[in-house]
Amino acid sequence: MADDLETDLETWQRILKRDPEAFDGFYREHAARLTAFLRQVTGSRQAAEDVAQETFTQMWTRPNGYQPERGALKAYLFGAARRRAADWWRRQRPTEPVEEKTQGQGPGAELPSLMSNALQQLSKDQRMLLWLREVEGQSYAELAEILGVPVGTVRSRLFAAREALREVWHAERPGVLPEKGKSA
């Protein structure tokens, strides 16, 4: 953990000095995952790519926002992207993006699955939270930083999101019912 923070600090200091290789490496390390995350948040592949580009451009043109003592660089990046996605949502409502059809295998292709369908039935905030925790491995503290809420709130929201997903997921699976406990 300490090593990671040190690496983050070194990377950021190089970026502050306008080191192109450092930023290029930073971009390559995070762009794909960030775009996948934004895809979940925006529901649109094109919007995800646009917001990702805007986020990285912001990081390059205004690099002074990151404060190492507040958390990892990745958490800062995802937090910035989340805020940009929120701006995107505010511009979009009440419109909806054009239906996107993806076909076949390969990078970016979306295979239908029970979990994919179940995930889409959650609110975008719940999808975002689960993705950050389960896929990106963000800690409670990092999630608190990204979302701008206390750690305790992160914990309870994660629980609520998991329960919502669990309920939908079980409903999608024929013949499988969630086992419910009883009170005393």
């Binding site: 919007a47 043109t61 689960l130 309870s156 629980f159």
Partner: protein, 384 residues
């Protein structure tokens, strides 16, 4: 029953926690957190809580599995930069300089591409009049070549913003109106599905064109900008559709220079103001007559029909032009037509104002506002 069994098995002290109380602790345990002793004891002995934990594990694995399908193993070499580079190269003039710079630059390529795209836009004469980038997503700029017209209709369609996913054109041919619209239905990797409809009505039923169009069967086509699409409209002719992808919604479609050309009028998203009150807002509608004899017609329910022409017309009043506005008087009232761009090089235009409204056969006033451009020399009697 599972929780009663858990209490009996607890042993040392009586377990009072219920499953609904323990549930959030199950989530925390799954996240690698420690929990209270009471919760730990309950979860350890409770089949339902353990089933919940197994579900969380299975859900987490499945989420990461589908994420692994979403996230490519490696990103294409600066995809964003390539996209912006392609658009910059289309500008043409700085192609050589661009390629040389690409090889030797020292800042991240996509950032460089962003800066160059900005410089190109500012350097070209198009920027001031044409571009105010909005990041709604990909825009497909269609060009509709209408029969008998040498000026294609430009139609920007956004893949994200539903306000910009359809457009249309109406024209007079002979003694009939012909209306055509095209709608963006879906997009997929540079190819789109377009829906088109066409309608035709007698000249005196022009106010019913919109509703007539909505009742028509929509024809669906697969379209790619590399392959022109020809759509045949009965008794009207063939409409050829071409297009290109843009990275922004153009603010002024079809306008190349700020300064109007000779014989040209530009009426862009105008407001009609009567005695300092807005009486008509033609939001999003524009007209660009550019040949002698062509006029702009505004039909404003409640106000009447206005024809604007650069040449004198019978029963017309003279209006003064000041950059993007035309002021004139009619029936004892003062009007201003306020346009979103400079209107004409001329200092005056001629306006004919009729109280007559385009109404349907039952005498009902039309719904909404319309704007059209037609040639006075060929206009049917009812529209002169």
């Amino acid at each position: 029953m599972a929780c009663r069994a858990a209490r009996r098995a607890a042993g040392e002290r009586k377990e009072r926690m219920r499953c609904d109380e323990a549930a959030e602790f199950v989530s925390a345990l799954y996240d690698g957190e420690t929990v209270t002793r009471e919760a730990a004891a309950h979860i350890g002995a409770c089949a339902a809580c353990q089933a919940r934990l197994r579900d969380y594990i299975e859900m987490g694995v499945e989420l990461r599995r589908i994420a692994s399908l979403e996230i490519p193993d490696e990103i294409p070499d600066n995809v964003a930069a390539q996209t912006w580079a392609t658009k910059a190269v289309r500008q043409g003039a700085v192609q050589t300089w661009w390629r040389k710079g690409w090889e030797t630059m020292r800042i991240p390529r996509f950032a460089f591409a962003a800066m160059v795209a900005g410089i190109l836009v500012l350097a070209s004469g198009l920027a001031l009049t044409r571009v105010r980038a909005r990041s709604e997503g990909s825009v497909l700029l269609l060009r509709l070549a209408m029969p008998g017209s040498d000026q294609p209709v430009q139609c920007p369609l956004s893949t994200v913003d539903k306000r910009w996913q359809s457009c249309g054109e109406s024209q007079v041919k002979g003694d009939r109106w012909y209306s055509f619209d095209v709608r963006l239905l879906s997009s997929n990797n540079g190819r789109v599905r377009l829906g088109t409809r066409a309608a035709s009505l007698p000249l005196n039923e022009g106010n019913k064109l919109s509703s007539a169009l909505e009742q028509q069967t929509q024809h669906v086509y697969e379209f790619s900008p590399e392959e022109p699409l020809n759509v045949d409209v009965e008794n009207f002719g063939s409409i050829q559709i071409t297009g290109e992808w843009m990275d922004h919604m153009p603010q002024l479609v079809g306008v190349q220079e700020v300064d109007p050309g000779p014989n040209e009028m530009r009426v862009v998203a105008p407001l009609l103001i009567r005695d300092k009150q807005v009486v008509a807002d033609f939001q999003g509608a524009s007209a660009f007559p550019d040949k002698p004899g062509m006029v702009v017609m505004l039909n404003a329910p409640g106000e009447g029909k206005f024809l604007f022409s650069l040449t004198r017309m019978p029963d017309a009043v003279e209006g003064k032009v000041n950059l993007n506005r035309i002021t004139f008087a009619s029936n004892g009232q003062h009007y201003t037509l306020l346009s979103g761009a400079p209107i004409t090089r001329a200092q005056q235009v001629w306006i004919r104002h009729d109280a007559w409204l385009v109404s349907d056969s039952k005498g009902n006033a039309p719904q909404g506002f319309i704007m059209s451009v037609y040639n006075m020399n060929n206009a049917p009697a009812g529209l002169k």
